[in-house]
Amino acid sequence: MNKVIEVENLTRTFGHFKAVDNISFNVEKGEIFGFLGANGAGKTTAIKMLTGILEPTSGKGKVAGFDIITERNKLKYKIGYMSQKFSLYEDLTLKENIGFYGGIYGLRKREIAERTKKMIARLQLGDIENTLIAEIPLGWKQKIAFSVATLHHPDIVFLDEPTSGVDPITRRQFWDLIYQAADEGITVFVTTHYMDEAEYCDRISMMVRGKIAAMGTLDELLHKHAAKDMDEVFLKLARQ
């Protein structure tokens, strides 16, 4: 299976409003896929359908080999998700958070212990493994949240504005984690309002008013829209 996301004519309406309007696209295994769009363009609705939280009004799709309508529960074990707004439990320690999510994703006790150890070593967080998440700086929290979202070795991880508000060095360290995950074969589906980050993606798509207005590699998009960077592409497309 090389396609981790296959979506055909996906649509979702709320009353008369078409939040997602007939979108079709594929994402390949190990790809870093940037999912851009203005606020209200339909990104969140699309992600909710791809992660099995929201049923489409019409159209179909498969994520990690499972149907997003009929196999929603199986699908959830094969995906990871993290957002800027909610990621970890503030009143649990780092270790407790890892254990909790491991349990949710159906890992065995021994697996959890093993992966916890590995993760803490990899992020060099031995000193704070018993610290409450509330007391850990945001930049670290986001790196931890990413590792927790990939703890169960999902086929694909959805990142919804994972670096908003994070300092520029930590933001880049976060992208190191993304590249490592992609190298290990995990597909990364990421939304961001930082256009430099959009440029780190293998492929970029841009939603405008519920539709995918553009999709391609950075070079393709720059060439097609005669732009010097992604910021310019974004402004041109969103103002159409």
């Binding site: 606020n39 209200g40 908003s164 060095i169 430099d196 780190y200 950075l218 974004f234 402004l235």
Partner: protein, 304 residues
Amino acid sequence: MHLQMIEIKNISKSYSEIKALDNIALHIEEGKLFGLIGPDGAGKTTLFRILTTLLIPDRGTATLMNLDTVTDYKKIRRQIGYMPGRFSLYSDLSVQENLEFFAQVFNTTIESNFEMIRDIYVLLEPFKKRKARDLSGGMKQKLALCCALIHKPKILFLDEPTFGVDPVSRKEFWDNLKKLQKTDNITTVVSTPYMDEAALCDEVALIQKGKILAVDTPGNISKKFSHKLFEVKTNNNYKTLLFLRKMDRIHSAFMFGNSIHLTLNNANEVTGLTTELTANNFEFSIKNIEPNIEDTFMELMQKE
């Protein structure tokens, strides 16, 4: 000769053991658009709360228009507008009701200061009967700005007004700020985690972990960068970056969009670098570039 609107002298504030602000000093002149640039947890919101008289510092003093933030707080509150970071309007009131409410609190009417908010209000007008909670992010932000301006403040405080906002809405918001500055000579203090927005301010303070790293015009901030900066473009930036990081001659190497920005321990080693990259079969181009604010921020951060 510009009037000093804001004077901050040696302000410190701690929350239990965490030093949110560590001996901050700043002065801001009348009519300036002043940017407070730094990541989450840098201390931006704490400083805003002190300046808007909502929080008392542990040490130091701050004056706004020569009024002390602790002893003259009542007078200050009538003359400033504050848009907090989290959405702070009444979500179960409509657009119109929110505006009326804030106007009444300040003993004024929407009509008496309408000129000031006209440009922003016309964008909101189609939704004036909609409840605030049902507005999109960009519209909420415009309403919050209108409410902060309704009493024609002399100083406007905006705490991360563009956080989580897409590039198009961000640009519109900054255009509005520029217009306000021009037509009303309002002094604005705005915080943001987006480094590219720093370039739009008259003056900026870079803040990190409760300390000011630098204060200057955006142009002068970039001049504080202490190395010669190179831009490298390749067909596989991540692979190249990993390789570069292992080299002794590299001082720093970071991704910047579709290129890598790097500095060398000795700028003369650039020939050695190109030879080594070529020998390892990298296809690349390299050139000397001017540092931007983000480059400078990152360098100053690492010096701390």
